[in-house]
Subunit: 409 residues, 2 copies
Amino acid sequence: MPHSNISVSASRAFVEVFELPPTGSGPLDGMRFAIKDLIDVAGWKTGSGNPSWCDSHPPAVVHAVCVEQMLKAGATGVGKTVTDELAFGLLGHNDFLGTPLNPRAPDRLPGGSSSGSASAVACGLADFALGTDTGGSVRVPASNCGIHGFRPSHGFVSVAGVNPLAPGFDTVGILAADADVLARVAVCLLACGPAPQAEPASVRLVLEAFELCDPEVREALGGAVRRLRECFGSRVAEVSLRDVVGDEAGGEMAAWRETYCVLQWAEIKSSLGAWIAAARPAFGAATAASFALTDQLDRGRVAEAVGRRESWFRRLRRALGPADMLCLPSVPALPPLRDDPLPVRSPGSGGASSYYPRTLALTSIAGIGRLPQVSLPMGQVGGVPVGLSLVAGHGQDAFLLEVARRLNS
Amino acid sequence: MPHSNISVSASRAFVEVFELPPTGSGPLDGMRFAIKDLIDVAGWKTGSGNPSWCDSHPPAVVHAVCVEQMLKAGATGVGKTVTDELAFGLLGHNDFLGTPLNPRAPDRLPGGSSSGSASAVACGLADFALGTDTGGSVRVPASNCGIHGFRPSHGFVSVAGVNPLAPGFDTVGILAADADVLARVAVCLLACGPAPQAEPASVRLVLEAFELCDPEVREALGGAVRRLRECFGSRVAEVSLRDVVGDEAGGEMAAWRETYCVLQWAEIKSSLGAWIAAARPAFGAATAASFALTDQLDRGRVAEAVGRRESWFRRLRRALGPADMLCLPSVPALPPLRDDPLPVRSPGSGGASSYYPRTLALTSIAGIGRLPQVSLPMGQVGGVPVGLSLVAGHGQDAFLLEVARRLNS
C-alpha cells in the first residue's frame, strides 16, 4: 500500500509539478498520473535527468503519444519525475537531481531509471506513473519500492516523444500501487481488451535466475512461490533456461547479460554518442563510467550478439505458448544502501560489485525475448521489498496482466 | 536487370561516395552496398535530405547497427544516397538534392523516400542498398524502379543510428536487383536462417487493393498473378480485406489510410516537431505542405487510431498463419512524370491528386499490421515498371523471402 502522508518535496520524486487536465473520459477517470522526465509533455523541456541535455534541447511542442492516450482515457497528469541521467542506470541515483525517496526503505536507493515515477506512486502522490524500461528501468524500481511494475512486449506501445536510449529494447512501462490499476492503465496503453481468461497452462520457475540471487532474496520470495503453487497447482514447475532455449549458453545467466550489454551499449552509442561528442555534457561520475563502457565496446561483436539475441527470441517464442509463463525474481539483491558506494556496471569479483551484472542478467531475459514482464510486490526482507516477476509470451500482455490481477486478489 | 553503363553522377543517386571496407567475411563477401542518408556512417553527417538538418546536427561517431551488420558479413559500403527530406515523402523528389534517376523510366520519378538507394541499385552502382520504410519508402521506389524491395516485420531490425520519423512504423529495409541477393542480405539483417520450405498454404489477392488501382496497373499485374496461380494453384484466391479483419471499416481502403495517417502524423510531430519549431528549417514546398498536415492534426484522434490499429493488427495476426500470404499491387499508379506538378498528400477529388492517398492506403496494410512485405518487379506498362507485393504474417520474414526467391527463379 502506498504511503499517504508524504509531501511532494519530501518525496524528491518530481522535477516539475503541474496539472494536466484529461482530454476525454474513460476507464482512467479520476486517476492521477506522473510522467518520467524522458517523456514529452507539451510546453516543457524533456530534461532526461541531465542538465546539459535539458540546456541543449528545445521544449516539447506536443505530448508524447502515450501521454495523449492517458489523458484521453480520463487521467490527469500531475508532474514530471526524476530519472537516472538519460535513463542509463538502474539505481535511482542522480548527482544533479538527488535521489527520490524509497518510502518502504528510506535508507536504500529507490532503483531506476524510473526512480521518480516509482517513488511518486509508492509515496501515494500518483495513482500510477509512466516510466520507460530498456534494461529494467520500470521493473527494478517497482521491486525496490514495493509496487507493481509492467514492461510491455517490445514494439506494442508507441515510443514517439520518448527520448531513445537503445531502441531495440526501449519500452514505455507503467508503475502502480495495485494490480487492478496496473491492468486498467495497461489495457489503455496497449489498446487491447482484458484477456478473456487468465488460467496459465504453465508457470516455469527459472532455476538459473533463482540461483543467481542472494539467499535472503530467494527466501523472501518463498511465500510468493507458495502462493503461485496454491493458485496454479502442478502447473508450477522448475525449469532450466538452458532447456527453454535449447542451447548450452542459454543456461548461463552471464551469456544473457553479455548479449544484452553488447547490443544495449552499441545502440546507446548510436543514439547518444554524436550528441555527447558534440555537446560534451557534464555527467555524474557513475553515469560517465557507464558511458565510457559504450565507448570501449568493440562494435565488431555487434553482429554476433544480434544473432544470439534473435536465436533466443525465436526459441522463447516457440517455448512460450499463449498461456505459458516464466517466473523469476525481479532483482537478485536488496536495493543498495544510499550511504554505500554506488554499485558499478562492469562485472566485478562478487559482492556489491556484482549487483549490476546480476540485475542485468535477470532483466535481460524479457529484453532479449521482447517479452512482457510484470513485477509483483510479493516479498520482503525485514520490511525491504523484493518483487517476484512473471514473464509471458510475446504479445501476451493482456493475459499476463490478468494473471497478475488474480494473484493480487 | 540493372543498367551497367550509368555513372554515379548521371544517377544523381548519391550525396557522398566512399569505400567502407568490410569488417568481416561471410555471406555478403564481394557485395557493394549503398546507404540511405538517414542512416549513420561514422565520421559523416547524416543529412536526412535537408540542409538545415545537416547544419544543425553533429556527425555520426559510429555506424548504425544495420551498417555494422552488413560490413561484418563481408559487404563494402560505396556511398550515402539521396532521400526525400527527413524521409517524409514517397515521390523521390528533393528540392535541395535533385531527383535521382529512374533508369527504367527516366521521365518519371524514382519514388521515395529511399530514392537514391533504389536508383543506385537500378543503375547497377550497388548490389543492394539499405533504405528505410515507414509508409512505403522502400516498397514504392522498388516498384517504380523495377527492382526488389523488402520491408521487414516491424521491430526485428535495429533502428539504432537511424533518424526516426514515426517510430511505430519505422523500419530498415533492403533494395536489390534480384530476389537471391535480397534474401541473402535480409537473412543477415534479421539474423535468421533461410526458411526450411516456402510452400504457401494460401495466397490471398486483396480485392480492395486491386480495385483501388488504375486499370493499366491491374492489367500490367495480370501476368504476375497468372504466374502465382501457376506456382501455387488453387491456394491462390481472392479475398476481401473486410473478411480478413472481420469488420466493415476494414473493407474501406480509406479507413486504413486514415488510421495510418493519424498515427504517422502524430508520431512525426513528436519526433521532429520540437526541432522544427526551434530550428525553423528551410523546406521544399511539398515538404513544408506535408509537415503542415502534422501541425493541423487533432491529437484528440490519436487514442482512437491506436485502438483501430491494434485491433486490425490482432485480427491480421489471427488471419495469417505461418504460411499464409496476402498479395496486392505495390502502388496504385505509374510513377508520376517528373515534369508534372507534384502529387499532394491531402486527399483530392481524384486523378493525379489521389496518388498519395491511394498509395498510402496500399502501403498502410503492412504498416498497421507490422507485417513484412516484399515488392517484386513483375509488371510493366509500356516499359514502366510496376511491382507486385506479397505480405506475410508478423515475424514470417524468412518464409516470405523464400517465396519471393522461388517466384523469381
